[in-house]
């Protein structure tokens, strides 16, 4: 019997959470150790999955199917393709680094890690679900722990507001998409939620045109699509570091990915019809996000808006419905996920020591925190799309895809590159170089070794992918081929 790796990946964080919940509150070190072990376990499994995925055979692999409610056609149907495998790896990486970064949480680490792992389970579940009902099930599981994590452990000033706003937005988005999913279920006539079967459903063009937009936009809310992105910057800022890493690094990818899986793959005609609109919205994301990021004085807000901009690139790539664009989008999900996780980790380390995130108030951090500085610079270069790093490898095909569809959009979107360069370099200079303000003297303690491990892992991944695109791009390409087949070779 083959090892049910996907179920284990999904449920191991849950098991970890349950174990942690049962531990006494004052055994903080043991709790952290259990958390770390769970995270390492998930990371190892996701890495193994990544390395074992057969890129030549492509298609859905590691399939598991357990009947859950046959009368309704609901089954726990799991499988990964070329697009979701890197995302599973991404989740494992972010989970691992997130646990490391959260080592210092003193207030109720037990509940923190339990909720974090609940979130992780939900995320894993969405990436590997091939059953529409289960996809929603896991999707919602990934939403409510965010509320608790942000409201309880977040930044005191805005956490309650940001947590509620985030939860409401995400919940609304997901239930809008849910209605679409139910409509698909009833309309298909197959009486099943199995996505592989629904892919063959051949819904009428009118049906698809009506339902594509609610489904796509409903999920894309979590991807931060303009104008429904407003929850994201506040959510990022208010969340504790590991949660921000998860939020920007993985959760937003969840939205884009679900929009792809459910929207584009199940309603291809609708996708083709509405693609121009999505293209425009995504372009607004890219350009507007960059401009707003430029005027921020809070480092975390800057990164938050930069995430909005970069997720715009993902959705731009999807909206082109071309092989290049979609492959780039798939790679961008991974690249940006790692990059933003690194950014938030770095900002978190700075904030823990300096107790401010205001760029004008910071300075001279490079001397005291060289690892943070160097890896932040690497992240910054990725953010700019600097060749040699994963950002370029991801963004270039997206632009190529845009050229094939609407050339003038490419011209607009490319503006964001120079804007990003400007604000990132300025931020780097102000935060890391120059004079360290007097009040920080002696407070900026060096980071621990495990922090260095986390930062090093994240930056190493981005450099590796940038220099050797072959380690991921072909895999994503194979997944995209399947999507394009559904689109009718468009």
């Amino acid at each position: 019997m083959t090892f049910p790796i996907l179920s284990v990946i999904i449920f191991s964080p849950l098991v970890g959470a349950l174990i942690i919940l049962m531990m006494p509150a004052d055994r903080k070190t043991e709790i952290r150790v259990v958390a770390l072990m769970t995270a390492v376990f998930a990371l190892v499994l996701s890495l193994w999955l990544y390395l074992s995925y057969d890129q030549v055979a492509a298609g859905y692999q590691f399939i598991e199917k357990y009947d859950w409610m046959p009368s309704f056609g609901i089954s726990l149907h799991l499988g990964v393709d070329g697009i979701s495998t890197p995302l599973v790896l991404l989740t494992g990486v972010v989970m691992f680094t997130g646990v490391i970064i959260s080592w210092g949480i003193e207030d109720r680490p037990r509940e923190f890690f339990a909720f974090l792992f609940l979130l992780a389970s939900g995320v894993f579940g969405v990436f590997v679900a091939l059953d529409l009902f289960m996809l929603f099930f896991f999707y919602e599981i990934a939403v409510f722990p965010m509320y608790l994590l942000i409201a309880i452990w977040g930044w005191v000033k805005t956490r309650e507001y940001a947590a509620m706003k985030l939860t409401l937005y995400l919940f609304i988005g997901s239930v809008v998409a849910l209605i679409g999913a139910l409509a698909m279920y009833f309309n298909s006539g197959f009486g099943t939620f199995d996505m592989l079967i629904l892919e063959t459903a051949n819904f009428s063009p009118e049906f698809q045109k009506i339902w594509f937009l609610p489904v796509f936009l409903g999920f894309a809310v979590l991807g931060g699509i303009w104008p429904f992105h407003n929850w994201s910057p506040d959510g990022h800022v208010a969340a504790p570091t590991a949660v921000s890493m998860f939020h920007a690094g993985v959760l937003m990818k969840l939205g884009a990915f679900a929009a792809l899986r459910v929207g584009i793959m199940l309603l291809p005609e609708g996708a083709k019809f509405w693609a121009p609109l999505i293209l425009i919205l995504a372009t607004v994301n890219v350009v507007y996000g960059a401009f707003i990021a430029m005027i921020q004085t809070d480092l975390k807000y800057m990164i938050g808006f930069s995430s909005v901009s970069h997720m715009g690139l993902v959705m731009l790539g999807f909206a082109t419905l071309t092989p290049d664009g979609m492959t780039g989008a798939g790679v961008q999900m991974f690249s940006h996920g790692v990059m933003t996780a690194l950014f938030f980790a770095a900002v978190g380390m700075i904030y823990d020591r300096a107790h401010t995130r205001q760029i004008p108030e910071l300075g001279g951090m490079m001397k005291a925190l060289p690892w943070v500085g160097y890896t932040f610079i690497v992240g910054g270069l990725v953010s700019m799309g600097m060749p040699g790093f994963s950002g370029f490898v991801a963004e270039f095909p997206i632009f190529m895809g845009v050229w094939q569809v609407k050339p003038w959009v490419a011209t607009l979107a490319v503006i964001s590159i120079v804007i990003t360069a400007a604000y990132i370099m300025l931020a780097i200079r102000r935060v890391f170089f120059g004079e360290m303000p007097k009040e920080f003297e002696g407070h900026i303690t060096p980071i621990k070794t495990i922090d260095k491990v986390a930062l090093g892992l994240l930056s190493g991944l981005m450099i590796a992918l940038g220099v050797f695109p072959g380690i991921m791009v072909p895999m994503v390409e194979s997944g995209v081929e399947n999507v394009l087949r559904l689109l009718g070779g468009a």
């Binding site: 009368s71 919602e140 608790l148 849910l178 209605i179 139910l182 279920y185 009833f186």
Partner: protein, 479 residues
Amino acid sequence: MFTSSMIMAILPELLLLTLGLLVLVFDLIWKKRDGRDLGWLTAGGLLFILVLSAFLAKPATSMEVFGGMLRYDMLGYVFKMLFIFGAMITSLFMMDSEKLGNRGESYILLLVATIGMNLMASAADLVMLYLAIETTSIPMYILAGFLRDDKKSTEAGLKYLLFGAMASTVMLYGFSLIFGFTGTTALAAITGFSLPLAIGVIILIMVGVAFKISLAPFHFWAPDVYEGAPTPITGFLSTASKAAGFAVLMRLFLGLFPLGSEYALMWTMIMAVLATVTMTLGNVVALSQTNIKRMLAYSSVAHAGYALVGVVSLSELGVGSVTFYLIAYVMTNLAAFGVIAAFSKIVGSDEISDYAGMSRRNYGLGLAALVAFLSLTGMPPFGGFVAKVFVFAAAVKADMIWLAVVGILNSIVGLYYYLTFLKVVYLHRMEGENEEAHPIPLSRPYAIALAVLSFAILFIGVIFGPWFNIASSAAQGLF
């Protein structure tokens, strides 16, 4: 004379009656005891009844017994099990309440009410139905006002009595009209109404049913009664009693106006509008509540609205989804009220702001609250999620997408106030932040009950297949 199926049909009720007598005897003869003994007896007895009935009283087919008074089918069976389970949990909650737990009367009244609910769920005749409703209601009136020294409780009991009496009178009038125009009181035989009569009958009967289910605009009694009644009773009232009302609703109207009849559309629209108003009203007013019991009262009103959405679709899926919804809802709301009962027993307050830091004062209670309230919101992996999805699915299937949308919008409002409560429990701190010094000890019956409920909510939410199949089989009985 008495066939085995007839015995089986009323087996739970017979057992309940026996248990009630047992409690009465115990209460009389065994004076010196720990106040909990009766409670354990009741709970244990109910558990025994539940298990026994589950195996023995399961109907093979649908049939009418006792000369058409009762209907012995899956719908009745499922609901009966639900009521018995609810009563069991309630008796666990009642145990530690000083005024309630010590007295045999409260348990007996609980058991009688349960009998009444069972009969409500399986009534096939209007007279039987009315009897059953009264058998349920009167003990509940008393239980609501049980705390004689508490002004609020007395007010609750009295208000409930007056509202209830009036509602059932109106309903009875409706029944009498039906009898007058069709010459029979058997539910199955009632057909062939002319339009004005149909409307009139619907309105009259709905008054009674809507009162029971606390549908708008007949929900006004709910907040005061829920707030005033002893919390375990509120729990029972808001769950089992409401579920019984739904059973009646489904039987009655699907019997009177089956799918395809001329009035089906009209009554569907009425239901839909009622559901909309109920959901919206319940949710919106809940937003401004500062008392948790009142908030949950309005939330219960809203949930009745959600469940009604499923009825609207007039299909097997619809009835099945309502049944499942009720199963999940009973578990969830009982858990919610259980948490409140446990809390107010120690702290003595029902104000939401007093719940600040509750999660630190009792870790398990905080988790139970989390489970219960997230299930109320409709979040996976809890039962509330699946329940909502299926209810909305029923609406979508019946091409009433707007209704599903309304339901969803309402869920969002609900999300807000449920999460706000959880925020108070988990985020807010007590004055002085010394929660460790003010723990909330959880007594054994509460711990057992909450643990069972939490597990059940999770179980129904994750392994929902078999449970929905049970609900569907209940629904089949009506078509």
